[in-house]
């Protein structure tokens, strides 16, 4: 299991255990984390799983892909350097303890 902490826009934190191989979005949705919608189920067809990776974790979660950039362009909330589509971040042991921050809205 991989621990992930979601920090909501209001500062409240929710820590959950995700399975290796699951995406951060799937982990959020499976654990009823509000603030991640994941409307398209992870097919990179929407931007409703937008998250900001905590600075301390940026180098470990990898770079945004081009298609991801395209989709984030339409996100409801501000896109930052740390923005990712959480469906594109797959969990493994190296991400145990990952912290992501949630935007104020997804749509």
């Amino acid at each position: 299991m991989v621990k992930v902490t979601f920090v909501a826009a209001d500062g409240s934190e929710t820590s959950v255990e995700g399975e290796e191989g699951a995406s951060v979005m799937q982990t959020a949705v499976a654990n009823d984390v509000e603030g991640i919608v994941g409307e398209c189920g992870g097919s990179m067809m929407c931007a409703t799983c937008h998250c900001y990776v905590d600075d301390a974790w940026i180098s470990k979660t990898g770079e945004r892909q081009h298609d991801e950039d395209d989709m984030l362009e339409g996100a409801a909330s501000e896109v930052r350097e740390t923005s990712r589509l959480s469906c594109q971040i797959k969990l493994d042991q190296s991400l145990d303890g990952l912290v992501v921050h949630l935007p104020d809205e997804q749509f």
């Binding site: 398209c40 189920g41 929407c46 931007a47 395209d70």
Partner: protein
């Protein structure tokens, strides 16, 4: 394993008039069932409908028996998967993102909302469905799509005609004759729109598609616009009408929503309670099983969002009730997976964030004297077809 049981008694008309008791019984007794009048295998449990929608390889959108094809006179992106679906969807998508709606259309919609509310009488009886919900949805959509010269009446008529054609599961000839005429009218208007946006690009869906670096074929641009007309009016129209009904029949919740400015929650509950798009077909591409039944290759399953949204396993004992303040609301009204509704953000922004609060602020004494007088209709697409309120 056995094939799913077959039901030969349920009629299309029953599903159109009052489907919810039928779905409730199915969820309890026959969650996977072949309905011969529709020639589809119905899936009514939320976990099954989600599983199907999330697996486009096994459950393809390319349904060769869809009435949508003759209705739209096109192989629309709604009936495609993979790269082809993606290309056509990405063509129109930049015009419909939450950011695009907010930047380009929210302000205009606010103007229309105020204008259309101004037209309503301050007191006395009004049918909000015909006088507000439909027209304002038609007006903003005409602008978003890039055909502002289309009248509200034209937009609403084309939309309803396309819906009736696409929902013609009994394959009656008349609805297709109607859609043939509608298609001809739309095509004529679209040809003019193409010329206009080439000469003067704007933020509309037409312009985005026509002026793209590598545009999709004109036939598919037209097809995308028709899909947006077919699904882009009924959704905000019916969501608004259902929200009005839900709020006016639950005054305690209305007071709470007003106090908390929770119109977004009220919107989500409205579309959960009565999904504007109730059902979707998927072609089974290889033999599989669902809940212990063989689902053979070539079968067509139908995901009932209408039923999934009232699944007691997900929504509890009050699944059939309008309850704004649910602890969670994971409805499937806008679908999920690659084909989730591209217009969902438009509906949320326009209805949930602008019109609903504006309407209830302007008409704080509005009431629905006879909820039983509201008529609900539709199998594939559903909503009230009238909303007889007293304004004040």
């Amino acid at each position: 394993m056995p094939l799913a049981p077959e039901d030969a008694s349920i009629t299309f008309d029953q599903l159109t008039l009052d489907p919810y008791p039928i779905y409730r019984r199915m969820r309890a007794e026959t969650p996977v069932i072949r309905v011969s009048s529709i020639q589809r295998t119905f899936l009514v449990k939320a976990s099954d409908t989600k599983m199907v929608k999330d697996d486009p390889e096994l459950f393809s959108s390319d349904d060769p028996r869809t009435p949508m094809q003759p209705a739209f006179r096109a192989h629309t992106l709604m009936r495609k998967d993979g790269a082809e679906h993606l290309r056509e969807r990405k063509a129109i998508m930049p015009a419909l993102t939450p950011k695009a709606i907010q930047a380009n259309w929210a302000g205009l919609y606010e103007e229309f909302a105020a204008e259309y509310l101004d037209r309503l009488p301050k007191t006395g009886p009004v049918d909000l469905f015909t006088d507000l919900c439909g027209p304002v949805a038609a007006r903003i959509l005409a602008h978003i799509l890039g055909i502002p010269e289309a009248t509200d009446e034209q937009m609403m008529r084309w939309s309803q005609e396309l819906i009736d054609g696409a929902g013609n599961f009994a394959w009656r000839p008349e609805p297709f004759e109607v859609t043939d005429r509608a298609n001809a009218e739309m095509d004529e208007l679209f040809a003019k729109a193409v010329e206009r946006v080439r000469a003067a690009p704007d933020a509309s869906a037409f312009s985005v598609m026509v002026n793209a670096d590598d545009p999709i074929p004109t036939s598919q641009i037209y097809s995308n616009i028709k899909i947006a007309i077919g699904g882009g009016i009924n959704e905000p129209r019916d969501a608004l009408a259902t929200l009005i009904f839900g709020m006016l029949t639950n005054p305690d919740q209305l007071e709470q929503v007003k106090a908390g400015e929770d119109w977004g929650k009220a919107f989500e509950e409205a579309v959960r309670w009565v999904a504007p798009i109730q059902a979707s077909s998927r072609l089974v591409t290889r033999d599989t099983q669902i809940r212990g039944f063989d689902i053979p290759k070539g079968d067509t399953v139908m995901t009932l969002q209408a039923s999934a949204n009232r699944d007691e396993e997900v929504f509890g004992d009050d699944a059939e009730d309008f309850v704004v303040y649910r602890s969670k609301n994971p409805h499937q009204a806008f679908g999920n997976g690659p084909h989730h509704c591209a217009g969902s953000h438009t509906a949320r922004r326009t209805v949930g964030k602008i019109m609903a609060p504006m309407l209830f602020e302007r008409f704080p004494n509005m009431r629905l004297p006879d909820p039983a007088a509201v008529n609900w209709r539709g199998f594939g697409f559903r909503g009230p077809i009238n909303m007889p309120v007293i304004m004040g």
